[in-house]
Structures are given as structure tokens and as C-alpha cells.
Symmetry: C2
Subunit: 440 residues, 2 copies
């Protein structure tokens, strides 16, 4: 408590975003004589790699989230601010927020992540083909998928019924592959048991990819194993086909119209607003071009890490947009700032150590590439599960996720199958709940 008031003289480090990168930076500063402020517009850290499991009703939101305050509880020099950053005053060194705050900094770390990108069609397509980046995205998609089954159960028109039971996933990177596999499991294993007219064969899951193969960031043989697993689960692959148009009824792919009740976007991301706030140079995806130490050119006190940054190594290779890369960048930047403050020796230049790549296709099947070790099928799945449970923030979550998965694995039961947050069967948008207006 004392530090919050008596520390005006301490250097102020502001970290925006409590994802993997931001939290790693905060932790690397835990022994620094400084006042560390973590600002996020949500009160929880999210284990984004498992969002698709919330969207497909396998896990509950609380299973993959941890309150930021709990994560940083033991770190006496850190405080948490729940607010939405709206801009940065580089001249005055202030972070500006929607709540009207002006938070001064001596060092600034921006770890604000990425949003979906619809190749310039954001306004039209975002509502028709939602993606999953936030917990609210995931619970909305969950409601949409579950409602599609509910409506199909009661639909007598065969064409409408077929459309309701068609699920299109656009983009076959890890998220698209994992989503398509999880929807196929839901549709073929969990759902038919509870519905009277839906059989395992009645649902159609299609994975659409503009490139010639799925999982472009994986080795070809692993990608092929993954494709075979997906097909065995009943997922149709449409490769080498770019989406031309998205409408409320479906998509057009290579001139052909495909009707679908549910369309999910996993095809592209763009960086959040950090580049705009800084008026800094960005790449085509909106990522801030940073130096080898993640600092913004001309501003050694400002760092951008994670999905918001375009960081190239000596050979010009871009740091991938994955959690381990964000974590390593956060730790590096935190250590760098700590060394600067202490006047001690600067850490060695940043060097990304790839932990390998993993993607799960469904129960009992995943592909894992750890460099020397490559696994597919059940062994891959077991390693994938262990790794994800292990890395989940917070012990309580580990226990809960492990029991959810085990239970789900043994019974094909879905514990989180709730349609919340919306009225059903409406033709018009529901009215704003009065409480929501009030709550802010």
C-alpha cells in the first residue's frame, strides 16, 4: 500500500495489455525499483490458444482466464488499472484512457495484440463471419453454433435445415484447423445424443483455405497428417480457394455459392491501435516496426511486443505471432528496462527460441513439431494436452481444465453448453438491457 503513495520518485513503467507479452514484461520487472502499472480493458488474462474450446462448449470462460490482479498479487511493485487506452501523448509521456486518466510513464511497453482483419471488408464481413479473439467473441460464437443446432432440430424445410447444419471455417492456420475439428466433434459426437432428428452425418463442416495446404507454418508431412485426421472426422477441405464474398446466407468461393448458417473467420489478423497511437511506422498488417530490442525507432523508452509488433531478426525473419514469442519478448523487454534502471549490464540481444508448434485436430489427434521430435495422432494429442494444461495461468485453472477435459474425454459430454447473453428466435435486434446502460 505504501508504494502507491510514497513512490512518486520511482521510475514509472506503464504496460498496456495483460496478455502473454504484457504479463511476462511485468514479471521480469518484479525486482525493479520502479512503479509498474498494467493497464487492460479487461480484468482478466486470457489463455487465447484455448478460446476455440470455449466457442465449441468444451470449456467454460473461467477455465481459460485468470484475474490480472490475482496473477500479479505477489508483485509488490505492480498495480493494475482497468481502463481502455485511447491514445498516447509522446511529448508529455502520458497514456490517455477512456476513463479520462492521463497516466505518466518513463518507460512504456505496448502489448495490445491483434484483431481480425477482413482484407478491407471489415465493416461488411465482421458481423457475418465473426472470429474469436476475445472471451465475448467465443461465447457469442458458442451461442451461434448451439442455436444453429436448436433451429435445425425444429426446421422441416430440408434446404434450410441443411444450411443450418453447415459450418464454414475460413482460414486453415492453427485456429481454423482447431475450430473445424472441434465443431466436427461437437456435431458428430456430442450433439446427436441430445437431439432427436440430428444424426452424426447430418452436419457438414467445411474448412476453406486460399493456400494450397492447411497449416502453412508446419512441415508438409505434419500438415498432411492433420489433413487426413480432419477428413477422417468428416471435415471437408476446400484448398486453393479464396473467399470472394460473404453474405448472411453463405459465402462465394471460386465463383460457387455455399449456403451456411454459421461462418467463422480465422483467416487474418491485423495489429491493434498501438501504431496509430504512436504515429509510428507500421507494416501492412498494422504492426509497429520495432528495432531488435523491440523499441520504437527514435523512442528508446517505448517498446512494442507481441502481435502488435513487427520484429525482424538479423536475417529479416519475422517473429511469429504466437504466445511463446510474445512471452519471450516481454521477458526480454522487462529485463532490459530493469537493467537500465539499475544501471547494470544490458541483457544479450534478443534471440527467439522456438518451442515448436502444435495444433490439435480433435480428441486423440494433434500434430506436434518440436524440431527433432515430431508427433501425430494420439501421442501428439497427449503431449498437446499436457503442454496446454501446464501453461494455463493459475493452479486452479489447471485443475479445472484437467477435470473438464478428462470428464469430456471419458463421456463425450459437454459441460459448458449454455446459450447465454441473448434471447432466441427474434427477428429484430433485442433491446438494450436497461442494466447494461446503467452499469457503466
Amino acid at each position: 500500500m505504501a508504494h502507491a503513495h510514497a513512490s512518486a520518485a520511482l521510475p514509472r513503467i506503464v504496460i498496456v495489455g495483460a496478455g502473454f507479452g504484457g504479463l511476462a514484461a511485468a514479471r521480469a520487472l518484479r525486482r525493479a525499483r520502479a512503479e509498474v502499472t498494467v493497464i487492460d480493458r479487461r480484468n482478466f488474462h486470457l489463455f487465447q490458444p484455448l478460446l476455440y474450446q470455449v466457442a465449441t462448449a468444451a470449456l467454460s470462460p473461467a477455465d481459460i482466464s485468470a484475474p490480472i490482479r490475482s496473477v500479479l498479487r505477489g508483485q509488490a511493485n505492480a498495480r493494475v488499472m482497468l481502463d481502455k487506452v485511447t491514445g498516447i501523448d509522446r511529448e508529455q509521456r502520458l497514456v490517455l484512457t477512456e476513463g479520462g486518466r492521463r497516466v505518466p510513464y518513463d518507460h512504456l511497453v505496448l502489448a495490445t495484440g491483434a484483431r481480425h482483419s477482413y482484407f478491407g471488408r471489415d465493416e461488411e464481413w465482421a458481423a457475418l463471419a465473426p472470429g474469436i479473439k476475445t472471451l465475448d467473441d467465443a461465447t457469442r460464437l458458442r451461442a451461434r453454433i448451439l442455436l444453429a443446432f436448436e433451429k435445425a432440430e425444429l426446421e422441416s424445410d430440408p434446404a434450410k435445415r441443411r444450411a443450418l447444419l453447415t459450418f464454414l471455417v475460413i482460414g486453415a492456420g492453427p485456429t481454423g484447423v482447431e475450430l473445424a475439428g472441434a465443431i466436427a466433434e461437437l456435431a458428430r459426437k456430442a450433439v446427436p445424443r441430445d437431439f432427436r432428428t440430428i444424426t452424426p452425418e447430418s452436419a457438414s463442416i467445411v474448412l476453406i483455405e486460399a493456400g494450397q495446404r492447411i497449416l502453412p507454418s508446419f512441415r508438409e508431412d505434419l500438415a498432411q497428417a492433420a489433413a487426413a485426421s480432419l477428413q477422417a472426422m468428416g471435415v471437408t477441405l476446400e484448398l486453393g480457394k479464396a473467399v470472394g464474398e460473404v453474405t448472411a446466407e453463405g459465402v462465394s468461393v471460386g465463383g460457387r455459392h455455399m449456403s451456411a448458417g454459421t461462418i467463422v473467420w480465422a483467416a487474418g489478423v491485423k495489429a491493434s491501435a498501438a501504431g496509430r497511437w504512436l504515429a509510428a511506422e507500421t507494416d501492412r498488417a498494422g504492426r509497429v516496426r520495432v528495432g531488435r530490442d523491440f523499441s520504437v525507432p527514435g523512442a528508446p523508452e517505448i517498446f512494442v511486443i507481441g502481435d502488435a509488433a513487427a520484429h525482424a531478426d538479423g536475417q529479416g525473419r519475422l517473429l511469429p505471432g504466437v504466445a511463446p514469442a510474445a512471452k519471450q519478448a516481454g521477458s526480454h523487454v522487462g529485463a532490459l528496462i530493469a537493467a537500465r534502471l539499475a544501471g547494470s549490464v544490458t541483457p544479450a540481444p534478443f534471440q527467439y527460441r522456438s518451442r515448436g508448434a502444435m495444433a490439435t485436430i480433435g480428441r486423440k489427434s494433434a500434430v506436434v513439431d518440436l524440431g527433432r521430435l515430431r508427433l501425430t495422432g494420439l501421442l501428439g494429442w497427449l503431449l498437446w494436452s499436457l503442454a496446454h494444461v501446464w501453461f494455463l495461468v493459475g493452479f486452479r485453472n489447471r485443475v479445472s481444465v484437467a477435470t473438464s477435459w478428462l470428464w469430456s474425454y471419458l463421456t463425450w459430454e459437454r459441460g459448458a453448453r449454455l446459450i447465454t447473453g441473448q434471447e432466441i428466435a427474434r427477428a429484430e435486434p433485442p433491446p438494450m438491457p436497461a442494466q447494461r446502460r446503467e452499469a457503466a
Copy 2:
């Protein structure tokens, strides 16, 4: 699958509402040669008695809910319809829905529950002092309570801070008592560990009751024990004081203004629209006056049970609005219909068997009245916990709730402390998410 198509000749029983009463009625009909249709606007059954634990971040929504389809999975003669009932055509014997369906019935069971009642001030007060009847109510209240702490942490004006940390609960029946106790625990045990400026003493929890004592449905000595427990936990009791006005800043009680950031309503309920649909006689709380067998006077094929009904026994005593009463009524009505269909002997007249009453005040303290056996304190709490875990629908939920509670009990940790579904720090209502519009 066959029954859905080939059963046109079977008698059609429609049950509206999948709460305790509706599900009990459906189960009692499981061996009937009939087509049972359960209509609900939600896809899950909700264990309402534990909603306050979701609102206070001790449990997750999935812990206290079970998909209706899973509950009825084993019942071959039952089907589930996700839709919102808008009216009943008694002449044609049709249930009308928002989705435009006209569902024919031979027997109809209405188990539509209750909503909050603000003594004629619904429009003004509902948004200012929300209650908890639905899962969305509970997650909204959770967000409001957690946001109050977040805002207080960053507030420097002492008066505003005090208001933010003041929580008023209006109504000291079981729900009000349990909510006040759970908020007190959250404010005094779980929250101070995570915040820098909030101490256990800085929050103020006030329970306001128009009557002269809390828990009017309990024996006086048990209510006194509960009051002492609440006070020991730091809850201020304001008894014999009616709320005169509710504003965005607080309430006026007996001419005195009390500032509060969070006001929760637990003071009154009124029945849902069943009475209006039927154009039947209702009591002051909107409950349909039903006969001894729960049928609507003049319509032996229509039954109303649970909180939607006013059912008096031979001595004119009203059946209480609690889960066991709704369950017993549902079982009775289901058995009655089954006997009518089978032409077998009518079951004995309905006789309510009270299972006793329980209310928890917090960890390690509850009051339990089982008639001969009366418990308070820790023993009461242990029995209360066992009973609630036991009655939760679905084994998976039992395991999850048990581990959540055990973990929470051992560590004072809150696993479900997420603020979801809303942006923070806004002065105006947030825009409708585009997806929400789309989803319906």
C-alpha cells in the same frame, strides 16, 4: 427418432418452462404413452438457489446449469423446443411462440416461474436495483460488483470511493441474506488481497428490510442466529425500514438518503405471464389461482405449478415459492396426467411435504430448519453444502461445484471473477455488437 414423426395419434403434453417444476412434471411422465414437449426460451435448466454464488464470483455459470436436452436425454417420449412462448389459444388448444410456432396440446403444464416486482415502480427501479433471477442477471450483477471495486481502487475522492464500496441489498429473505453474506465475504476476504488500496474495513454492506426481522419464513431463533452471523461478518442490518426511493446514487430509507454504487433487489417477485396468457384469475402477485390438483378452474387440461401458481391447501395455506414445492407439484401433476392417460387410478390429493428450510450466511455459517433438527453455524453450513451439491442436476456439475467450493474454501480464491459482456469505463451505452444483431 421414430416417435417424432409417427406419433400423431399419441396424446400431446406440452410443458412450458424447464425449471424445477417443469422438469419434475416431464420426468413423472417418462413412462406415459404420450408425446411430451418441453418448451423453454433458454437451452439450460438453472439451479436458481445458487445464482447468488455466480453473482458473487464463487461459481461459474456452467456450474449451476445443465442443458435441458442432456437432462431429458434418456427420456424417449420427450422432446425439447427452444422458443419463447408468447400466448396460449385456449379455444384451439395451441401454445403460440415468438418463433411463429403453434404447438398443439391435449394437456398443458405451465411452469414459467416468477420475475422481480418493484411494487409498481418496475420501469424506474429495475435498472437501478437489479435482482437475480436469470444467469444473465447474475453475470451482469457480478460485473457490476467487480467493477465497483475496480473503480474504487482508482478513485481518489473519499466520498465517491465510499459510495463505490457501499453495497445495498434490499429485502432480507433467503436470497437477500445469502447475497449480503456473499458480498461481505468477497469484499472482506477475497478482494483486499488483490487490490492495493482496499482494506477489509473499507467496504460497507447494508441489508435493508421493511419487516422487523430477517428471514421471516424461518423460526425466530434461527433468524436471530443468522442475524448475528451477518453482523459478525460486517453486514449492517437496517430492519423495519421501507425503501422510499431508488436513484442512480442510492436509496432513501425512512427519509434518510444512503449513497451506494451497487443496489441489489431481493424484495419481491411477481409471477410471469402465465395468468395473462390464460386470462385466468390471479392473486396480487400475478399468480394463477389453481385448484387443489393445480388445474385452472374450468380447464382440467391446463395446470399451473411453481412460482407461477397460487396453490392453497385445505387450511388456506399457500404453497411456498421454493424449489422443493415446485418439484413436488411437478411430480404430482405429471403423475396425474399419466394416470388420466392410462385410465388408472388417480393419485392421492397433493400434500406438500416440507423438506425444511436452509439459508447460508457465508462460509462456515448457515441456518437449517428441518423441523426437529435445527442447525446453525458451521454444522448448518456443512449440511447446506452437502444438500446443494447433492441436488444439483447432473453429475458433472456436482464434481465441478464440489471442487470449486473446496478450492474456494481452502484458499479464499475466487475462480469465476471475470467481468465479461461489457466494455468498461464508458459514459454512454455501448453500441450493440454487430454479431448480436446477426445471431438471431
